[in-house]
Amino acid sequence: MADQNTLSRRGLFMKMGILFNGLVATALAVPIVGFLLSSITRGRANAYLSWVPLGPIKDFPEGETRLATFTNPYMTPTDGKTVETACWVRRVEGEQFQVFAINCAHLGCPVRWFPQSGLFMCPCHGGAYYRDGSRASGPPERGLFEYPYRVQDGMVRIQAGELPTPGSPTASLFGNKPPCGARNELVSIESKLSTTSETNALLGKTKTWA
C-alpha cells in the first residue's frame, strides 16, 4: 500500500486527467453559457428598442382613445403573428398623446377600453384604469405602462420592442404610479412626458440602467 504522502504515477495521471477535463469543460462552458444568455446580452444597450410608426396623426381624433397595432422591431423568421402588438393611443389634444401598452400592469393580460364608462378594464383579474392610464381599482399596483412617443412628419411613433412587465426598467420610468392616498385625484403624467426632449432625457436614463 502506498504511503499517504506519496503520489503514485497512475494517481498523478488520473489527477492530471481530471484537471485536463476540467480545463476543457471550462473552455467549452464559455460558448455554451454565452449561447444560453444570448437573449439577455443582446439587449444590453437597448438593442431591442426602436421607434416604430403607429400611423398618421389624422387616424387619431382628438379626445379619443383608439387601438393601434405595430410590428415589433426585433423579429425572427418563426415568430409568425406574435410580433404584431396592439396598444391604446389616446390623443389628448394637438400633438399631445398618451400611448398605453395593451398589457395590464398587474399580470400582462390585454386591457380593453370602454369609452362609455371611460375606463380600461382587464378581463383576467379585474384591474381598471382611468382614461389617462392611472389606476382606478383592482389588483394593479400602478397605472398602465406608457410608451415614449413622438410625432414626426405627421406620423405618430413610439419607442417599443420589449414586453412591458411590472419589473422592467422602462416600466418604472414611464407610466404613472399614483402616490399613496391620491387614488382619486386622477394623477396625470402628461406633464412628465409633455415634450420630446424630456422623453429623450428619460430615455438616456434607461440606457444607463441596463
Binding site: 423568421p77 418563426t78 406574435t82 404584431e84 399580470l107 420592442g161 412587465t165 419589473g167 382619486n184
Partner: protein
C-alpha cells in the same frame, strides 16, 4: 430445456439481469400494504409512460414554431386520422397525472411514509411534483393559442417582479424581448427534453429507494418510529408477516393502472382534446385568458391578494412552501405515523384542499372580473322602472350607458365584481350614493370626471328607487333630526 429457455439463458449469461429482477419481483412486502391505498404511485407512473408514448406520437406532427404550431394543432385535431384522440389522451393524461401525483402525496403524508428512513424518497417525490407541474405548464404553452400566449405574459409579469434580476429572468424565459418564436422553442426544449429527462432520472431514483428501503408498512396507531429500532422492526415485520410483492400486492396496482388508463381514454373519447383556443395573435384583444385546470387556484389567488401583498406573496410563497415540503421529514422524521393520531396533519390537508378547491371553483366563474361583453345597449329591466319619474328614468339610461352593469348586477344580469344593486338604496342614502359614484372607493373607480352633474343627479335619483317594496330607503338620521328641530322651533 426448450429453445426459448436456451435463448433466455444466452441473453442472461450476457446481461445477468435475471437474478436482480427475480429478487425485485419476489421481495417481501408487509402483508397489509397490499391495499387499494397503495396504488396511486404506480398509477402515476403508468400515466407518465402513457404521456411519453402519446407525446412522441404528437411530436410526429407538431411543429414547434410560433408561426406553425397553431396550424399543426388544427391539423392534428381535424386532418390527421385519430390525431384528435392522441391529443385528447395527452391532455387528459396530463390532468390525471397531476391529480394522481397529488393524491399519492396526500396518501404518503397521511400514512407517515415520509418519516425515517424514507426522507429522501419524499424529497425526490417533492421534486417529481414540481416537475409534473412544470410539465403541465410547459405543455399548456406548447398548445400555442391565446391562453398560452397571455399565460406566458402572466409568467413574465410574475418573474419580472424578482428584485434586480427580474428583467434578466424575463428575457431568459422568453428567449428575447417579447413572447415570440424563441419563447415557444425554448418551452418545447423544456417540455420534450429537459424536464422529461429529469423526470425519468428522478422516477428511477424514487423507485430504487422504494425497493431498497421497502414499502411503508400500514401505520398502526401507537406504533412509533424510532431511528434506532425502526429498520430492525421493519425487517422483522416483512419476515414474519410478509408476502412476495408479485403476485401478492401487484395485482391491485395492475387493476388500478388499467382502470386509470381506461378512464383517461374514456375522457379523451367523450370529452375530446383541449383547444387550441384562438390563434395566438396579440392584436386580437377580445380574449379572456385562463390557465389550465390545475393552475386555476393560482389565477383566483392573484385576484384576491391585496396589491401590496402580491409581489412578496408571489416571490416568497413558493420558496416557503417548497422549503416546508423538503424539510418536513426532518421536522417530524420520527414518532406517530397513523393519521388517526395526527389531527393537525389531517386538518392541514383538509384546509389546503378546501382553499385550493374554493379558489378553483371561484376561478371557474371569475366573480372579480367585470363582464367584458356587457354592452351599453343592455337595458335596465322593466320591473325596476314601474311608476318612476322622468328624472329616475333618465338615471336608468345613464346607468345603462355608463355600463354600471359591467360590475354590478341588477335583477338577473350583470357582473359580480361590485355589490348587487337591487337594494342599494337601503344601504346608502342620497349623499352616500353621490359620494360613491363621484369619488369611487372600496375598489370602485371614481366616475366624477365621466359624469356631468345632471347625469349624476339622475343616476342617483334612479339608484334611490332600488329598494325592496315595503322597505324604506336609507336616510340621513342627523338631517331628519335637524329638520324636526327647525320645524318644532317655528
Amino acid at each position: 430445456m426448450g429453445v426459448i429457455g436456451q435463448i433466455g439463458q444466452w441473453f442472461d449469461h450476457r446481461l445477468q439481469l435475471a437474478a436482480p429482477i427475480r429478487d425485485t419481483v419476489e421481495h417481501p412486502v408487509p402483508r397489509n400494504t397490499a391495499s387499494w391505498f397503495y396504488v396511486f404511485g404506480s398509477a402515476a407512473l403508468t400515466v407518465f409512460l402513457l404521456q411519453l408514448v402519446t407525446g412522441i406520437l404528437l411530436a410526429l406532427i407538431y411543429v414547434p414554431s410560433a408561426s406553425e404550431a397553431w396550424s399543426s394543432l388544427q391539423a392534428l385535431n381535424h386532418d390527421v386520422t385519430l390525431g384528435w384522440f392522441i391529443r385528447a389522451m395527452h391532455g387528459w393524461g396530463s390532468n390525471f397525472m397531476v391529480a394522481l401525483v397529488l393524491i399519492h402525496m396526500v396518501q404518503v403524508f397521511l400514512f407517515g411514509a415520509y418519516k425515517f428512513p424514507r426522507e429522501l424518497t419524499w424529497i425526490v417525490g417533492v421534486f417529481l411534483l414540481l416537475m409534473t407541474l412544470g410539465m403541465a405548464f410547459s405543455g399548456q404553452v406548447l398548445r400555442f393559442d391565446q391562453d398560452a400566449y397571455w399565460g406566458l405574459g402572466i409568467g413574465a409579469s410574475i418573474a419580472s417582479r424578482v428584485p434586480i434580476a427580474g428583467p434578466i429572468i424575463v428575457k431568459l424565459m422568453l428567449g428575447g424581448p417579447i413572447i415570440a418564436g424563441a419563447t415557444l422553442t425554448r418551452f418545447f426544449a423544456l417540455h420534450v427534453f429537459v424536464i422529461p429527462g429529469m423526470l425519468i432520472g428522478f422516477v428511477c431514483l424514487h423507485l430504487l429507494m422504494v425497493l431498497k428501503l421497502g414499502i411503508n408498512e400500514w401505520p398502526m396507531p401507537g406504533r412509533l418510529v424510532k431511528r434506532a429500532t425502526y429498520e430492525n422492526e421493519y425487517h422483522q415485520l416483512t419476515r414474519k408477516d410478509g408476502a412476495p410483492f408479485v403476485p401478492y400486492a401487484v395485482w391491485k396496482d395492475l387493476f388500478f393502472a388499467a382502470f386509470i388508463l381506461l378512464a383517461v381514454a374514456a375522457c379523451a373519447m367523450y370529452l375530446g382534446p383541449f383547444g387550441p383556443t384562438g390563434r395566438p395573435d396579440p392584436t386580437i384583444i377580445q380574449t379572456v385568458p385562463k390557465p389550465d385546470y390545475f393552475f386555476l387556484w393560482l389565477y383566483g389567488l392573484l385576484s384576491y391578494l391585496p396589491p401590496s401583498m402580491e409581489t412578496p406573496a408571489l416571490l416568497i410563497g413558493p420558496v416557503v412552501v417548497i422549503a416546508f415540503l423538503v424539510l418536513l421529514p426532518f421536522l417530524s422524521g420520527e414518532g406517530e405515523k397513523s393519521w388517526r393520531r395526527r389531527p393537525i396533519a389531517v386538518l392541514t390537508v383538509l384546509l389546503i384542499a378546501i382553499i385550493l378547491g374554493t379558489l378553483t371553483h371561484l376561478a371557474g366563474y371569475t366573480p372579480w372580473s367585470p363582464h367584458m361583453n356587457a354592452w351599453s345597449g343592455d337595458p335596465v329591466p322593466d320591473n325596476f322602472l314601474h311608476g318612476s319619474t322622468a328624472l329616475q328614468r333618465q338615471g336608468a339610461l345613464v346607468f345603462q350607458a355608463k355600463q354600471c352593469r359591467n360590475c354590478h348586477s341588477l335583477g338577473e344580469g350583470g357582473g359580480q365584481r361590485g355589490p348587487a344593486l337591487d337594494s342599494v338604496a337601503v344601504r346608502l342614502n342620497q349623499d352616500q350614493l353621490i359620494r360613491q359614484v363621484i369619488q369611487g372607493g372600496g375598489n370602485m373607480p371614481a366616475y366624477g370626471k365621466n359624469l356631468s352633474p345632471a347625469e349624476t343627479t339622475a343616476l342617483v335619483a334612479f339608484l334611490e328607487t332600488l329598494h325592496p317594496a315595503g322597505q324604506t330607503p336609507a336616510r340621513d338620521a342627523a338631517l331628519d333630526d335637524a329638520q324636526e328641530k327647525s320645524t318644532s322651533a317655528r
